[in-house]
């Protein structure tokens, strides 16, 4: 999986985002959306997508018949998402809302989702924003509900970490030139998920050591 810093450039021109991210991820991005959707969605399931961007994961969930809400702070990205239509006729539907993760509680009742997904969005938040988002995700999930998040992480072995840094450096510079910003790499995604109260936390890195998918369950019985 290639570096995602360049994503910020793509975001600054949302109509280029999909093409760019597909190229950046070496064609894995659709597989990633699909994998998240397969874990989280299903006919009639209510799914929340935090930081939905141009809607890749949300639409994949809807294609499997889920009733999806995609939220993002960036209105331009949402405009691109809105222009897309739900594939297939599994009965799924999507609603797009301009909303930050810290505002979820204003719009959605507790325990109202069967699953919460988030792809390449947690790394864009501040550390306390990230913890807050995961706690809110926990509270909006029904007991037994599933969290599935994917993000760019630091590889566990030193050589891979060095390679990641080397490869990111020119992209960081280019991205800064074009957008004056950059994304961050997460250190311990699974740890954050556990800290928010999720159990049965599982981490996989199906394509490369710097992209992790983490799952967690809101326990059916309240535990602390």
């Amino acid at each position: 999986m290639s570096s995602f810093v360049y994503m910020k450039v793509l975001e600054s021109a949302p109509w280029r985002y999909d093409r760019g991210i597909r190229w950046l991820s070496g064609g894995h991005i659709e597989a990633l959306w699909q994998r998240l959707a397969e874990r989280a969605a299903g006919p009639g399931r209510r799914v929340l997508d935090i930081g939905c961007g141009t809607g890749g994961v949300a639409l994949a969930c809807a294609a499997l018949g889920a009733d999806v809400v995609g939220i993002d702070m960036n209105a331009e990205m949402l405009a691109v998402a809105r222009s897309k239509t739900v594939a297939a006729d599994a009965g799924g539907k999507v609603e797009w809302v301009e909303l930050g993760a810290a505002e979820i509680e204003d719009r959605f009742a507790e325990a109202c989702f069967d699953a919460v997904v988030s792809s390449l969005a947690l790394s864009e938040m501040s550390p306390e924003g990230r913890r807050y988002a995961l706690r809110v995700a926990w509270s909006r999930l029904r007991p037994g509900g599933l969290l599935v998040v994917a993000d760019e992480v630091r590889p566990t072995d030193a050589a891979a970490r060095l390679w990641q840094r080397t490869r990111r450096a020119p992209l960081v510079a280019l991205t800064w030139l074009l957008t004056q910003t950059s994304t961050q790499v997460l250190d311990d995604l699974a740890g954050l998920v556990r800290e928010a109260g999720f159990t049965q936390v599982r981490e996989t890195r199906p394509w490369s050591s710097d992209l992790a998918i983490v799952e967690g369950v809101r326990p059916a019985e309240e535990t602390s």
Partner: protein
């Protein structure tokens, strides 16, 4: 400033064109109590450093929102600091447990991205605009968080002009120094660096006494390059190093230095719209007077004193349109959507578009979405 802080301060200042993230969340300045004011800012290291310095002696809370390591003005314009980020800061920082009141002071330059009503609707917290420049915060706080008109407008003091000049001249020195040193030797190096460090600050110090926005700027840039070349020639003559090759190098250096600056000189001042974003198509701020109810929210956020309230008529007037820098703050804040941009090519961009689209160096203020997917 403590001597120990100097290296960090210099580093942050000289690399100020790059984002520098500092810790987000709530910070105490002095020993603030539950009634102390809460000042919102972004997590740009240099700003937080300067705020802490200027607020010495005051007791208040700094609520550092996530502006992605970018200064408040650029972050708000580029969509990296919006009401969503301020709401997130209020909710995730625990500020509600530390203060009894429910009000934050927002940085005025955040007005291009922060919608006050959205913050109050989501959190119940009241908001008010602080001064445009952080140097005015001590006086603002001393007046019980009340603004004075002149604190709304951007100044461009000499120290800041030098700072912006250094921000350009330093990378020029780092890049061009070795090149010209190797090609021409020590004398050429001395001559070219001297001309860079005189011509670049010279241009910043003489604003607004030359046509920064107009076509006439090319005459000024050409003159500056010629002056730089003359200077370098003089230095070479003094050092006894005048030769054809050396003069060619000096000419290349002076043209390159001014050329780099000419790319977006205006955008690195607080007084002019960026060349890069607007090119020749600079929008004019336009008021639909029939919609204006005289709320004057726009007047409160204009950093260039373009808008004026006509008290008797209860209407706003675009009083000094030539000074508009097209930041869009007034358009974003107008509760009646009475303001918009009108471009020379006839396009009109309304408030809803300004609020939902962001600018950056590649930015444009229209969303290209058509049936069957995003266009372009």
């Amino acid at each position: 400033m403590k001597a120990r802080a100097l290296p960090g301060y210099l580093y942050d200042t000289l690399t100020r064109l790059f984002p520098h993230r500092t810790r987000t969340g709530l910070r105490a300045v002095g020993t603030p109590g539950p009634d102390a004011p809460v000042l919102v800012t972004g997590n740009y290291t240099l700003t937080v450093r300067r705020l802490t310095e200027h607020l010495a002696g005051f007791d208040c809370w700094l609520l550092v929102a996530d502006s992605r390591g970018i200064n408040v003005w650029c972050a708000a314009g580029g969509g990296h600091l919006t009401h969503h980020d301020v709401i997130a800061a209020i909710r995730t920082s625990g500020v509600a447990e530390r203060v009894r009141h429910r009000e934050v002071v927002l940085p005025q330059l955040g007005a291009t991205g922060i919608e006050r009503r959205a913050i109050t609707e989501a959190t119940g917290w009241a908001t008010r605009w602080g001064p445009a420049r952080l140097e005015d915060l001590p006086a603002f706080l001393a007046r019980g968080s009340r603004i004075v008109k002149r604190w709304r407008f951007m100044r461009f003091p000499a120290w800041e002009r030098f700072e912006m000049a250094a921000v350009w001249a330093l990378p020029m020195t780092l890049v061009a120094g070795p090149v010209f040193g190797i090609l021409g030797g020590r004398r050429v190096l001395a001559a070219t660096l001297l001309q860079v460090w005189i011509v670049v600050p010279g241009l910043f110090l003489t604003v607004p006494h030359w046509p920064v926005r107009g076509r006439g700027r090319w005459v000024v840039f050409a003159g500056a390059a010629a002056a730089g070349f003359g200077l370098a020639w003089g230095v070479l003559a003094l050092l006894g190093g005048v030769s054809g090759g050396h003069l060619i190098l000096a000419a290349v250096a002076s043209v390159a230095a001014v050329g780099v600056l000419a790319v977006d000189f205006a955008g690195t001042t607080p007084w002019y719209p960026s060349y890069v974003n607007s090119f020749r198509n600079t929008p004019a701020i336009t008021l639909s007077e029939d919609r204006c109810t005289g709320a004057a929210e726009c007047v409160q956020v204009c950093p260039r004193d373009v808008l004026a309230m006509e008290g008797r008529r209860r209407k706003v007037r675009v009083a000094r349109p030539d000074d508009c820098i097209a930041c869009g703050a007034c358009i974003v804040q107008c509760p009646e959507d009475a303001l918009h941009f009108r471009y020379p090519d006839g396009r009109v961009v309304e408030a809803a578009t300004i609020r939902s689209t962001r600018l950056n160096m590649m930015g444009r203020r229209t969303v290209h979405v058509g049936p069957g997917g995003p266009a372009r």
